[in-house]
Amino acid sequence: MLYKHLQDTRSCVLLFSETEAFGCRGTIDTKDQGVLMIFNQATELENIRNKTCIYKDTFTLIASSDFLLSENGISTLRSISNDTTLADSIAGVLVYTNGTKPVHFSPAPTYPNKIYGLYPNSTIHWNPNGTNVLFDLFDFPIVFLNEDDSSTALSKVNSNLNCDSTQETVEFKFEMAGRDHKNASSCLSSGTCQPIGGQSVWSIMKARQEEVADEMVISSCKIDSSSFVRGDARGGSAYQSSVVVNLAVAEAISKQTQKKHFKRDLMFTFFDAETWGYSGSQNFLYDLKNFTCVVKSTEDEDICERPYKTSLAFVKNIDYKKIKYVVEVDQIGTQGDVNNIYVHYDNSLVDVNRTSEIISALGSGVIKSDAKEIPPSSLQSFHSYLPKGSFGSVLVADYDTKFKNKYYFDVNDDINNIDVDEICRVSSKLSNAIYTLVSGDTTMNLSANCTFVEIIVGCVLNSSSCEYIPNDSNVEPNHYSGVFSWDATTRRTSSIINNVMGSLTLFGEQPKDVVSCSTKLDCPSNQTCVGGTCVKSTTYFHDAISPAFYFDNDEYKWKIRNLSEFATITSQRPSIYAESNWVSVGVRSFSKNYGYYEGTVTFFGVVLTVLSGFVIAVVRTILSRINDYRSSSSFIK
């Protein structure tokens, strides 16, 4: 085969924050292919450069994931990137897998989202295995190979080491439209990137229909993850475990809504894009406090045209002043020797009495964390947007002062990194706690449905199809939020949550005619789209994009607000993250001749052409001398 296109490759992309670019900058035409060379130690790089048979001075480096995804490997990659001369020689880096798992690895920082939280000067290292490579910038693509292509690539390396007649070369087509920009503002104005965001989901189980109760309890979790390669955001313990718990709690409590009279409204929130400066929770709380619909839709009173919102249910159903209890579920059931439940809260921020009420509802078997600060979580958004001391809050997690998760935001944080039985156990405990808070009943002993827990774990962490997604196909689980879109169907995680919660929060008489739908926009005004059907439900999507962004309808592009507007609203700094547009992404390998070969063939072709012309001219001359060969006129009388 002339060209072998490497299939199922996963690559890092180019992203931007407020001040810088990070990720992989992609290729330029003059440096998009390189001779394949293996390197598993930093010292091998000079040996590669000194190979006299390599005429082209660009290389494609190939390294094992064992080496590259280690401290030594990351350090080597950084030193290559910082050495301009060397980096200019690198067309790209291929990473092959040899099937082994590192003892621990995390591409995330040691304190994720620190500058966007309540403690920007904190010295706590919640994620001690963090390398921060997520936020490094590389001037070349880094592509991870599947197992088949890994062995193919390794076999090709050997001929290059031996200086055979051909160079085994790898070409990257990895065009990042925002390549030349240095920050989000610059690339947004050129239209070469889009804000990062997703779709959060919130559901409300009201104490009384058509009324807002005096107090509200919120059970919250994060739903997105990240990874060095965005497509590898498996998010096992961080944070699909919390999604599963939150859904299991909702499922357990939903069976009680008809039987018991709640005294408080109960809301479940599933915040998306939290990885990117708590975008989901910030947007939600910002809207609760500040949203005003300038132009309502004339076709559906539930939709706002400017600013665009697909549902205004949050305006009607939620009064932020009545939020009195917030329980956030964090990483739960991470594989390890010991399974403990820790509660985190900041005494200086919470309503102490209500917080004690939450802890009391949780019962025995929970341990107060030694940390004086709350971990990186959506709770930090709640505390920054809502008045200090106005609500009680607790974060429930399986870690104390540092993450139990050795693979935070790594591809190895998958289904094998969680204990499903522990998740079910914690779900039962939380179900009872939340139920106690909303109903005041301490006698009920709720149990989570472990079968339901297993199904949801399969949906979010297995590559098999999920029964909660109509016409689902087998897809590798990926919980990176991606670029923002108003179309919630682009977010599989959000769709699963919406369909589960939507079926648990049906109310009133359902429509007699079954109307199929893809989104809420396909449904009548007072209905939402759940599992492909329009129903009456109290589950809604909410945009999970940093409130720092706004969409300019006149210029039809995203822009960044003046951040000083936020000073009066929140103590939290709003995040700015964007992802470059991709023009194309692909990798192919091929054999390439040394330059002299093609020149020789061309020279031979030219000589042959000239020689044949000369021979023909000679033959013509001979024939004309022998006979009467002349110009064409002599052939016609």
Binding site: Q33, T169, S591, T600, S632
Partner: protein, 234 residues
Amino acid sequence: YLALIGNALIVFGPIVSIFNFYLCNIPQLVIVFVAAAFFYLLSTCLTSAFYFIPGIVNLPYLLVSIGVSIQEIFRFALFLAYLFTERGYERNLKVKLLYGKFAWLHASVAAGLGFATCHALLLNGNVLSQSYGPGTLYLPNCPTITYFTHHSITTLLFVLLNISWMIIGFQGYIKKSVLRIISLLVLHFAASLITVLNNKKDSCLYVLPTLASLVVIGAIISTVELIIICNKDE
């Protein structure tokens, strides 16, 4: 793109030279050239029909023999068409189609070039287009030169063979010479069947030299024909 240019020149450089310096000033020969190309195309179309026979692709020798036979039938058909045209031209317009002692030689060269050009386009067109790009390919049958160069050289040899075969063929049909016709068939079958060995390792070490030898033999026979024509009274 250097590989594309080089390989294209190997195949089409001689064709263009012959056409430019030999044929293009003589309209009748250009028509013969085009007609011959068409006849070759027809022969290839007919040969391709045999590929639908189940299992025949596993019998390359049979398939090649069928192709060669059909080509020879069309070569004869081309000769008859040219003869018919020439006689009709003389009968109706009272002038000759081509004058001179070498009229039949020129016609056979033009026809041979037509066959060769169509053969080259069909055989090498697709391969040439794939040579555009940075990648190359070496096959076990010829590990020292690229697949594209090997293909171009083979095509070039067949271009030269086609011209010499047409010269031998036309002379054989005019003179009704069994010896010439048998030589033509032997040369054609030998050249085509030897290419079946191209799937063997290092086969280019004997296939290409064999083809080159056949080119030399064809050139010698064509030269002998030329000498015979020279010595013949008009």
